[in-house]
């Protein structure tokens, strides 16, 4: 027998969220991947888990793996406001409050029975491909998962660009690991023989998608910018940074997306925000650091309410830096996978990161730099205050600093961030009026 439930007073209808077609397509792709993961074992497919930077998606596809990405799982749980409890559960289980909240959200999800962000089960992976690229925490993260699940782990150690360049020794080291360790392990776990021509075909697809992605991101050099290169870009990079790089679906997605954006450029339209098209572009910013996911929409609103558009961001390069010419190369498949891993943003040294930001400020005609410093992410955050100083010194443009976290809602202080942003916009205005006066 059903019990009548008290009826709450009707709430005023929420304003519908506006999304670009490409954003909807992206969501569909990501959700489909979660469904594939949920049903993989039922249909006899093996599951791999790997990280976004240094993500060897094309290689994993050669072995028919369904592909899970723990950071994406954590951020999707963050967007759905589920990560807070997961993090606290992990802390209750003995994990320090000081360490990365992606890791704790992931471990908390495991503790809660491995239900993925879409509500479908997220089965235990059959292999962990530990691409140790640009983030030390990755190594510990997969050791923790391995300890819990006991699943096979294969490590790919990618040396850091300490001298600001990739030398032959570094590349050879990565290629050798691919040949001697990674590929044999993936063959053994999957039962599929490695076929380098299959890899070449996927890399051909990657190239096309990468070129279109660059076209999309560089469209922000226009005035007005047709995209937001940070909040909007996280939707755009979704497929190529995760389980879809090298697939025909990704190629189609980026072709469609580029077509849409080219159209917006022709029509001199601004970016689409959750509340519709931005009418007036008042500030053009470069942003360093990942976004906050638990209050993503509120965070974005603080920008578009003020007419601020992010024209370039470093976070949109975390899964691959393509805008300075790198493309996966089917003629040098393993070497180009190595170069891809070595070139990810967080694997660049400080002078390189500063050069890149200064270049963005100049090429995208930005008003300044905003750093969103993430408590969880030492790889990004340690030393960002020097980045701020150096960029200000070299470009003469104002820079600002805010702090939040990836998926821990306890570290998002909306009022504090809003205040700082408002002060920053005032600073830009003052700088502009001084420039007009003199």
């Amino acid at each position: 027998m059903s019990t009548p439930t008290p009826q709450a007073a009707p709430k005023p209808a929420a304003k519908p969220v506006v999304k670009e077609d490409a954003m909807l397509l992206q969501k569909e792709l990501i959700n489909r991947n979660y469904h594939e993961l949920a049903t993989a074992h039922d249909v006899g497919r093996k599951i791999s888990a790997t990280f976004v930077p240094g993500n060897l998606n094309e290689l994993l596809m050669c072995f028919d793996f369904a592909r899970s990405l723990p950071e994406t799982n954590a951020l999707q749980n963050g967007l759905r406001k589920r990560s807070g409890k997961m993090i606290m559960d992990a802390e209750r289980d003995g994990h320090s409050e000081d360490v990365c909240t992606y890791v704790k959200a992931d471990l908390g999800m495991m503790l809660a029975g491995d239900v993925g962000p879409t509500g479908e089960p997220l089965p235990k992976p059959d292999v962990l491909l530990l691409s140790y690229t640009g983030c030390f925490t990755f190594m510990k993260w997969f050791e923790l998962i391995r300890q819990k699940y006991g699943c096979e782990t294969t490590m790919l150690h990618v040396p850091y660009q300490g001298d600001g360049k990739v030398n032959r020794n570094m590349r050879d080291y990565v290629v050798k690991q691919l040949k001697e360790n990674v590929i044999p392990t993936l063959e053994r776990v999957s039962g599929v023989k490695f076929d380098i021509d299959r890899l070449r075909e996927y890399l051909k697809e990657s190239q096309k998608a990468e070129t279109d992605l660059v076209g999309v991101l560089q469209s922000a050099k226009n005035r007005p910018s047709p995209i937001d290169g940070y909040f909007g870009a996280v939707y755009y990079i979704g497929p190529i940074f995760t389980a879809f790089r090298g697939t025909p679906e990704a190629t189609r997605y980026y072709a469609v997306l580029r077509g849409e954006i080219d159209e917006r450029v022709r029509e001199k339209k601004g970016p689409i925000t959750p509340e519709g098209e931005l009418a007036e572009e008042k500030y053009r910013l470069v942003v360093e650091g990942p976004p906050n996911w638990t209050s993503f929409r509120d965070f974005w609103k603080m920008f578009y309410d003020e007419g601020a558009v992010v024209v370039a961001s470093t976070y949109s390069k975390v899964g691959g830096v393509y805008d300075f010419g790198f493309r996966h190369d089917p003629d040098r498949p393993l070497e180009s996978l190595a170069e891809y891993c070595l070139g990810c943003y967080t694997n660049l040294n400080f002078p390189q990161r500063i050069d890149m930001i200064c270049r963005y400020i100049e090429e995208y005609q930005a008003d300044g730099l905003l750093i969103n410093s993430i408590k969880s992410c030492n790889s990004f955050s340690a030393g960002q205050l020097l980045i701020l100083r150096e960029v200000e010194k070299r470009t003469g443009k104002p820079a600002a600093f805010i702090e939040s976290d990836l998926v821990d809602p306890r570290y998002f202080s909306a009022a504090n961030i809003k205040n700082r942003l408002e002060s920053y916009f005032q600073m830009i205005n003052q700088k502009r009026s001084r420039a007009t006066t003199h």
């Binding site: 360490v99 500063i354 340690a382």
Partner: protein, 389 residues
Amino acid sequence: MSTLAEIVQRCQGLFEDLRFDAVRQWKAAAPGRKAIGYMPIYVPREVIHAAGMLPVGIFGGGDQLEVIQGDAYYQSYICRIPRSTLELGLTGRLDCLDGMLFPSICDVIRNLSGMWQILFKDKYVRYFDVPQEYHDAIGGEYYVSELEVLRDDLAKLAGRPITDDDLRNSIGVYNDNRRAVRDLYEYRSQRPWQVPTAEVYLVLRAGNVLPPEEHTQLVRDYLAAAETEGRPKRDNARVVVTGSFCEQPPLGLIKSIEMAGCYIVDDDLMLIQRWLLDDVPTEGNLLENLSQAFLHRSASTASKYDERREDKGKFLLESVKRNAAEGVIFAAASFCDPALLERPMLQEVLARHKIPYTAFKFAENTGQMAPIREQAGTFADSIKLWSAA
């Protein structure tokens, strides 16, 4: 020969000297001498020494340094060692160094290498990456090439080549140093009341600024002097301290653990002096020998990848067994990613083997020792109570 008190006093003086006068004096003693700083955990000091240079361990500013400029570069959630190290650099205390090596230990130290490149443009700066892949033909080849780069760089800085004979001699010097340190640790494990860790630690810290030959002699002198002291044996709990491999706890914290009723019978403080577990051969290809020692015969710590699940905690378990320890104290620096991420895995292994443990965090400038003393004391009491049952 110096008395025990004189040796300890000398070490204490070197420990407290944040101007690195010992390094300055060493450099001033002969024209053209150079010194190269390094951060924890491990760099091959043999190569620096073979270039005729003084390897200098830079292990933060401790609890006596007021950090002002260094704090301006870091958010509150970053550990203290990079900020105090920057403070040392920005205040000119490290101007006696001609270069700095930043080993691959974590993202914070990694990024500090780039900051150093920007802030100290006239110095030699190198991020020293070590392999996390342990096969000679893969990680080994990569590491030998990295060693060759270091050898060439330092030769350029020295203005002379580093010959095989130089390297052979230096490997021998450090083999001797490691033997002396191993002897000291073994003695402490057997008779911890004779060589309290608060002293042992100071003796090891002296190795940061002294030439290795002199440090080896110092270690031996200390051991010889300590053996003659009649120190009372107490009914303390024998513990291993782990997690302090990078940012070092204040000396007061080590004393507090001991005063609370614990004998520290093993630890991972100043790990570089015990990183290579036995002698590096001085015949054959010397860089390959250094590589093989690193890959196959080196200490295990949170910054190193464990290839197999069953290897996790093995090193710590062996230490507990070898040193007849009754418990483990996890003492990690606040915001130390490697140590704090590693800790739950090690704790699980200890729990499986029914080895008691306790855990706390510190910063190099932690001043309040009462809570530490209380926690360590309770831990020691519980060990004594339960082991007696």
